[in-house]
Assembly symmetry: D2
Homo-oligomer: 307 residues x 4
């Protein structure tokens, strides 16, 4: 595909109620590496990430204050800005270099209470295994050793609207969608949107505006997901969805909560998505199968607990 536009979810700024607890969780359980800690902000990256941070923690409650997508080239910002202006409706503003430490200038949208930034550059600090005849993983890994941020699921009321915006302005496309029922034009309950070959780089679920459902880290396979769950329960981290397969995307998953109540996910599997692959449709009566392929029941929390 053309190497322009959004390439990936680059960062999540998460609020936490207690920084010491949060640091312990993200560094010791998830195994993220702190790159900077200043002004009450903790910057973290996975061992297989090259940019300065993918998770930024700050005290002040729960939820995400914003997420950032990295675009491939500086020129992409202009292109997207023009498309956004033509699209109308969605407030767009320029963001300056330095508004986010280590991050270039960019664009900022607000939709459904969410702040979404685009940027073209971040200080590069390198993957832990290097790039010359590298090993496949680093010698030292803490806890789960999450390699890399993968995607987020955000809640808002206007799922239809944000899906259209992401498709028309940001060139995402849906791999799977959940609709209310089989009727023509049934409301969209959730959408999983890809910017490339992943089943989703971002997903949206009908729910309260401005709320986070979860953000997710990619593990290499089911064995890694279950080993991660073994470790999490051993450390009394509350699991929200025990290791299972999602029917949606076929991905393997565990949901759990950070000490502040933000939901994290470890995720693997899922098929390779291509733009011409037929989009999958789920109906709400099959949400149980879609969420938890084995149990085929919706957890009490899936549609109700956000942060």
């Amino acid at each position: 595909m053309a190497l322009t536009g959004v390439t990936r979810l680059g960062y999540v700024h998460a609020k936490v109620t207690d920084m010491a607890d949060a640091k312990q969780h993200y560094c010791e359980n998830l195994g993220l590496l702190p790159t900077t800690e200043e002004d009450g902000k903790l910057y973290l990256k996975g061992w297989d990430e090259w940019d300065h941070h993918s998770v930024l923690l700050e005290e002040g409650g729960v939820g995400v204050t914003k997420i950032g997508f990295k675009v491939n080239k500086v020129e992409d910002l202009d292109t997207i800005e023009k498309k956004a202006q033509a699209y109308g409706d969605v407030p767009t503003e320029r963001m300056s270099a330095g508004e986010n430490a280590e991050v270039s200038d960019g664009l900022r949208f607000r939709f459904g209470g969410h702040t979404i930034e685009l940027y073209h550059d971040m200080t590069e600090v390198g993957v832990e295994v290097g790039v010359i005849n590298p090993d496949s993983f680093p010698q030292e890994i803490k806890g789960i050793g999450a390699p890399i941020l993968d995607h987020a699921l955000l809640a808002l009321d206007d799922v239809d609207g944000i899906e259209r915006f992401f498709m028309e302005v940001l060139d995402f496309y849906p791999s799977e969608r959940m609709v209310a029922d089989h009727s023509e034009g049934a409301p969209v309950i959730a959408t999983w949107l890809s910017a490339g070959n992943k089943t989703h780089d971002i997903a949206f679920l009908k729910g309260p505006d401005a709320k986070l459902h979860h953000f997710s880290f990619y593990l290499k396979d089911w064995g890694a997901v279950t080993a991660a769950a073994d470790l999490l329960v051993h450390r009394d981290v509350p699991l929200d969805l025990v290791p299972t397969r999602h029917g949606i995307t076929r991905g393997e998953t565990t949901y759990f909560f950070d000490p502040s109540g933000n939901r994290n996910e470890t995720f693997s599997g899922a098929y390779v998505m291509y733009p011409d692959r037929p989009c999958v449709t789920w109906t709400m009566d099959q949400l149980g199968k879609g969420l938890d392929y084995y149990r085929r029941e919706v957890t009490d929390t899936f549609l109700t607990v956000f942060s």
Copy 2:
């Protein structure tokens, strides 16, 4: 990324010495599904593919006669044609609908003895699990049950040249490259090129022009790769590289030969690639580690056996 240009490797036309043997191998061992058999051609698809075929077999020796990449939109053909003309050097021609059964019109390049086609459409026959509240896999799977074609590795003399062509005209980018040594400007021995988020949709290796190294099917994980190898050796299919991890791409792999001597691969793992992820460089003295992360030796056949 912008949803234009090449989305994936769509088909491989392979020559085989005996169709009955080949059909038995691709259908019973790999588990591909025959969609059409006519005029001495057998069209095959994986259970998780939606287009009419990804592998076409025809008697007449060994090797591939051509490969095809699917582009996202019909307009992409014009864009690419113009870029190719501007690039020069590489003979380009228009291809008509029907030159390949079930395939739309397109473009055709020749480089290093290889014929490379681009097309924007193929008759859609659907994935075996359907697209409404689907199960994660079909009830009936034969042999390995390879879901989908993933990539190919082709040999040619001018690796530098074809890499540049794929980057400049087709918008691919390299995830990993092997060079002769650590010196500045050392010759490129091999390159793994991505059109999206996979570590490679195509790779090229310095070797005899017009030759195939292997084509590859994506399996879900290491367990599937080893189970596939269990089945293959049980059926006396000659393995060329027993199940191992590639240092290159970190992918998990088995190489084996079809009855005609074309090398197949089953492949899983590999990290998620992004355009801004730093490209990995391998030096030839570490080819053993790159090919076979455990054994750290190059097989006798890797650099010498093509079809």
Copy 3:
């Protein structure tokens, strides 16, 4: 250990409400092989079993009518009979060859409504892979392809009593035990008893006399257990405990029901048990962790649904 006495759980005679449905389940889902079907009885074996049958199905409701343990040598029957007589209390009788088709003479006990037989020989039909330079698995496997019966869990009121009988007369020893609480002499709720190096060849749970909790088939690993669950839910077999790790024995497990309501298990993992390994104790307040290491909750059915 001395090669005398009970070597393994050899057979389970299960009642089913409808033979056609049961046959479909045990042959197509579990992948057991029918060896004989006569007089309304269906005899089944796993592909990795050598004796004529390990499961016998008969119409007439649900539950097990009896289970049989194979002893190593014919002389063991005398030894055990004498120990049983010395032990007293437990009615013991001789069983003639032919009372069970294909099964030698033996002994029969009744305890807590359960009929337990011992035998020293059964017609041998051979493992499917043979014994000369064998492959690791057969070419043709249906459904899950359960290789071999592993253990059963039976309910009865007098768990203390049957545990003592199995230990003193049959030379079993406990690997893990669940007691009501941490108090000295707290009642035993359940016991997992080994006749060798498995964590359990039989287990008993406090509950209604004469009832079956489940019988279990050994799969090779966690990947096989989850693949089995994938297949079962795909075929709408009701799961009772979705794939998880037991804290008890560390085994990986799925519980599901046959069409008559008998609970089956597919099981893997668990540590290697030795007679000198310290016995593990669980208290009832930790049953959730013991049953489902991830969820740490007891299912509604675990202590209440028997057949």
Copy 4:
């Protein structure tokens, strides 16, 4: 089975050329825990072992000076001593408590240059996860985190003889045997002997007397075996047999060398053995398949490198 006689391989006394290197390997790579270090001897145990040590290292070359099997009861020593005397030929002596630190009195045999001890007790130090409502694994694991010693393979000339001795005096039985060819009475090349339900607690291979082939640690599954190999190659530990499946026992395996040249194995899988399971026979022409199910070739070192 009757809870008398040999229950397991309890210890291996290995010679090493450099204690510091050896300690680094066994503690940091294999993850064994040092329990005592005195008089130039390092005592080690796995996290899932309860006795004081399973591996004892001492400087002075390579190989094993002796191995010890634990019997279930002190009386077993008398029984075995009498059987050994009746058997004749094999020199037997009583061993006093304290000849081996932390180990009870016992018996000692010598056969084919090997010293084999039996003991009924060792100081118990407990498994790392405890025995009351335990977790499935400890929080802190180093390197591979090998839980427990599993078996050893020793070389000697008189394989027939030692097999007969282990069967008749020690109540072992063979799960698999390798013979020279298909002829009646073909010489035994190797034998895998079980004392319970494992495919082997000890194995013997025709070769130079008094030599070690390998000793082995049990891992939970194939994923753990490959993860261990990932770690070993990352740390430049020389692999002798890269991760593969043995045809023999179906076990999953990696062979590697400690810094002194003693071969270690990490091992998983293998079927559950029972005394009445038919013994498997391999012929030497199929050793490749037996050793390395995928490659079907014998490594240069398998029959030639001992320590």
